[in-house]
């Protein structure tokens, strides 16, 4: 029986979709059977970040409404055959998703996969609630910035009250993933430190993803960063986070870009 993981944040643009793709690919590369689901009906993007936008035929809503079988809608990744995508609908209304339909699809996916990763839409509305509803564990993606931390606090409150686990009085494991972190600026007190964010939100840390140009490069190409450049700093951070999700104990470090001699002499980072 697979685990259901929701990647959520409240605020938009903090890296939910990037992290869903990167963590999904990292887990799949480690031999796990993974499906990533896009819950952002009307504004789907996981297909684009994964490079599967031209292969979408059926979507989550078709499956929920019984117009397509699950096997018809699942898109298997061309690079890793243990990674699959269930896209959202781009044309339908988000009200087309029913609670019962989503529960049924997730139950079916749990039978087939080790990990069912739900990419939540931004906000605290219906779509976000449906994405978190069946979760066994949650990854809260947060930027070291005031509005993102505030929204994460709100979403943590919803994870504790609006999920099936919470309703049954069970514990939902929640983990913090800090993205777009710049250790230099944090050291100069120009950016909230990870410790500050952890103290405020008080949930365990899953990982720290450093700000990096590799993330944009990967999405330009349509590849999870962990596949496009597995040795880059953000990829190593995502691989560590994926190992922690599997229960391994891995020390949390902020990976740095490995630079050659020329890069070290002439490389300048624009902050």
């Amino acid at each position: 029986m697979g685990k259901v993981l929701v990647v959520t944040s409240g605020k938009g643009g903090v890296g939910k979709t990037t992290s869903t793709a990167a963590l999904g690919a990292a887990l799949a590369r480690g031999g796990e059977n993974v499906v990533v689901i896009d819950f952002d009906v009307g504004l789907r993007n996981l297909d684009l970040v994964m490079g599967a936008e031209r292969r979408v035929v059926f979507d989550l809503i078709n499956v929920v409404q019984g117009d397509a079988k699950l096997a018809q809608a699942l898109i298997r990744d061309k690079r890793i055959d243990t990674l699959s995508l269930l896209p959202a609908s781009q044309t339908r209304d988000k009200d087309a998703l029913t609670t019962e339909g989503v529960d049924k699809v997730i139950a079916e996916l749990k039978e087939k996969f080790d990990w069912v990763i739900c990419d939540s839409p931004a906000g605290i509305e219906r779509g976000a609630l449906l994405a978190m509803r069946n979760a066994d564990l949650a990854v809260v993606v947060t930027n070291p910035e005031v509005s993102s931390v505030r929204d994460s606090d709100r979403i943590i409150g919803m994870l504790d009250s609006k999920t099936l686990k919470a309703e049954k009085g069970e514990k939902l494991d929640k983990y913090l993933l800090v993205t777009r972190y710049d250790p230099g600026r944090a050291a100069r007190n120009e950016m909230l430190k990870v410790e500050d964010v952890l103290e405020i939100l008080s949930i365990p840390l899953l990982g720290i993803i450093p700000e990096s140009e590799e993330v944009l490069k990967a999405s330009n190409i349509g590849s999870p960063v962990t596949l496009n450049n597995p040795d880059s700093a953000p990829s190593r951070a995502y691989f560590d986070a994926a190992r922690r999700l599997k229960g391994e104990i891995v020390d949390v470090v902020v990976p740095l870009e490995r630079k050659g001699l020329i890069g070290r002499l002439f490389g300048r980072r624009v902050a």
Binding site: V146, R150, L192
Partner: protein, 99 residues
């Protein structure tokens, strides 16, 4: 700006942390409370309405959170000519209950 201020660089992250801590302490209590209170208000009102005709505004609910215990105060104003009012000693016009 004197020389001392020039060298003592002002940093913004500690300000961000302090602002968040104050704001979230407030928001957590307000959001937690309002949900519970709204539910309590609706359900208590429904129970009372089964027996007495009361004005929605005549039911006041207050929740005070203390360090060791919290108080729930329910204040119901019962009108003299309440239609289905159960017989009670003359002269009593209000019911006050604290839990």
């Amino acid at each position: 700006m004197n020389l001392f201020e020039f060298f003592r660089k002002k940093t913004s992250a500690p300000v961000a942390r302090d602002r968040l801590q104050v704001l979230l302490a407030h928001e957590r209590s307000v959001i937690g409370k309002s949900d519970l209170l709204a539910t309590l208000q609706e359900e208590i009102l429904a129970v009372i309405a089964k027996h007495i005709t009361v004005d929605r505004d005549a039911v006041q609910i207050k929740l005070d959170r203390g360090a060791s215990f919290s108080t729930l105060e329910i204040d119901v104003e019962v009108p003299l000519n309440a239609g289905k009012l159960i017989p009670r000693p003359a002269g009593e016009t209000g019911v006050r209950a604290s839990a």
